[in-house]
């Protein structure tokens, strides 16, 4: 594992991808490699791109890569697609929109499957961000799965979250319902060629202006609403994505200038510690309970109402935690 982290720190792409895979597959001792890496992280700007299925997130990400490369940034992309609950397999299709960057060594794209996680990203995303970070990517873009209701875990990992809305889906209401309003730092109105894009733009602007209780409002960041030109007009599209890039960077600068970055880092780091505690304390206990069939005996006690979950949990806790 030390060998692997050494290679990653030297910039070896395949080693980096393998490390991410070990994290996804929860291979024992992978954390040893992460111990080597953690101290060197925290340099990249992490950008989340989220929105409904098919909203155009990958297409935007592809153009955003160009915009950042033009500015001299290096880019890491983590593209998350859902795992099939039936087979455990996954069709990872985001990358097909980003093929033109395949041979650019300043761009590292990695597809991830959710592996059963419900929050719109996968459990390994936080750590995969660290891996991309030590590969010295200055911008790390995380494309979430198409979100529906409460899939907003991206907020725990990104500095800047861009929410993509498209006309014709009743998105503005949907966005409010789904709590996207609370996580958005920037709204993008996409697919400008479609009927209703202008209307959606105005409605979203209204919605943003009316809401005083969003997380940024109090701190003075006015959530911008950006109308991105249609991909069918490539030159205009590229220009408007450059404007999007500048807006994303402006938000990051805003966080830095107003001492808000540390707040976000604290949230991100707290989430990570939570994960690590969960993995280190609870996971082994659960494994133990499953291994010797104890879990079934406990469940039997519940089914016969011989006990209740709270007493059993307390019992387990007193056995394992001294």
């Amino acid at each position: 594992m030390k060998e692997l982290s050494k290679k990653v720190l030297e910039g070896d792409i395949r080693a980096a991808s393998r490390l991410i895979r070990n994290l996804e597959d929860q291979i024992p001792n992978t954390y040893i490699a992460m111990q080597e890496i953690f101290g060197k992280t925290g340099n990249a700007h992490v950008v989340g791109i989220t929105g409904a299925p098919g909203a155009g997130k990958s297409t935007l990400t592809d153009e955003l890569i160009c915009a950042y490369r033009k500015k001299g940034d290096t880019v890491g992309v983590l593209a998350v697609d859902p795992t099939s609950p039936f087979s455990g397999g996954a069709l990872l299709g985001d990358r097909i929109r980003m093929l033109r960057h395949a041979e650019d060594t300043g761009v590292f794209i990695r597809s991830l499957a959710t592996r059963g996680a419900m929050g719109g990203i996968s459990k390994a995303v936080g750590e995969a961000i660290h891996v991309m970070d030590v590969l010295k990517k200055s911008k790390i873009i995380v494309e979430t799965v198409g979100v529906g209701q409460q899939e907003v875990d991206i907020i725990n990992h990104a500095h800047t979250v861009a929410v993509v809305l498209v006309p014709g889906m009743g998105d503005e209401i949907q966005a409010l319902k789904a709590g996207l309003m609370e996580i958005a730092d920037i709204f993008i109105i996409n697919k400008a060629d479609r009927d209703g894009a202008g209307k959606l733009y105005k409605e979203t602007l209204n919605m943003v202006n009316m809401s005083k209780d969003n997380k940024n409002g109090a701190q003075g960041w006015r959530i911008p609403v950006l109308l991105v030109e249609s991909v069918l007009e490539p030159i205009k599209f590229a220009e408007s994505v450059e404007a999007l890039r500048d807006k994303i960077d402006e938000h990051y600068q805003y966080l830095i200038d107003n001492d808000l970055l540390s707040e976000r880092m604290r949230r991100k780091t707290t989430a990570e510690l939570n994960e690590a505690l969960w993995g280190t304390i609870l996971q082994p206990i659960l494994k133990d309970l499953h291994a010797d069939g104890e879990i079934n005996r406990l469940v039997d006690k519940l089914l016969t109402k011989a006990s209740d979950p709270y007493s059993l949990a307390a019992e387990v806790a007193s056995k394992y935690m001294k």
Partner: protein, 134 residues
């Protein structure tokens, strides 16, 4: 470790633009429990090799109907070997004449599937011949 998932890159190098067959295979692989990175048509061997490394796949599945397989397949295998990725299994499919097979195996293609092959036989071959990385 049983958590290991087999990762497969499916790509169509070359100029022919029909990818219906490849899409069907991609879905079938997903249903077999593999993680499939599907990248569609018109790719150069260089692009395919770069993507295979970035995605840390166990298998690269190439499909070609244009007749250029004698160049494209070995080229992908060679680029992967050059990058030290000999452990990635390269397989191919398409309309491949019997006479070309020996040369392709020679070049490092591990198995060739012709249009008669069933989807099940593809999945079975991968399950039997590919060990996800340790």
């Amino acid at each position: 470790m049983s958590n290991r998932k087999i990762r497969v890159l499916l790509a169509k190098p070359g100029l022919d633009g029909h990818d219906r067959g490849a899409r069907v295979i991609a879905r079938c692989f997903r249903d077999a429990g593999f993680e499939v990175i599907y990248t569609g048509c018109h790719q150069t061997p260089e692009m395919i090799a770069a993507v295979a490394l970035q995605e840390d796949v166990d298998v690269v599945g190439l499909s070609c109907l244009s007749g250029a397989h004698n160049y494209l397949f070995p080229q992908v295998a060679k680029l992967l070997q050059d990058k030290g990725a000999n452990d990635i299994t390269v397989i191919g499919g398409g309309i491949i004449p019997e006479k070309d097979m020996a040369g392709l195996y020679e070049a490092g293609i591990k198995e060739i599937f012709t249009p008669g092959a069933t989807l099940d036989s593809l999945v079975e071959w991968i399950n039997n011949n590919v060990n996800p990385k340790e």
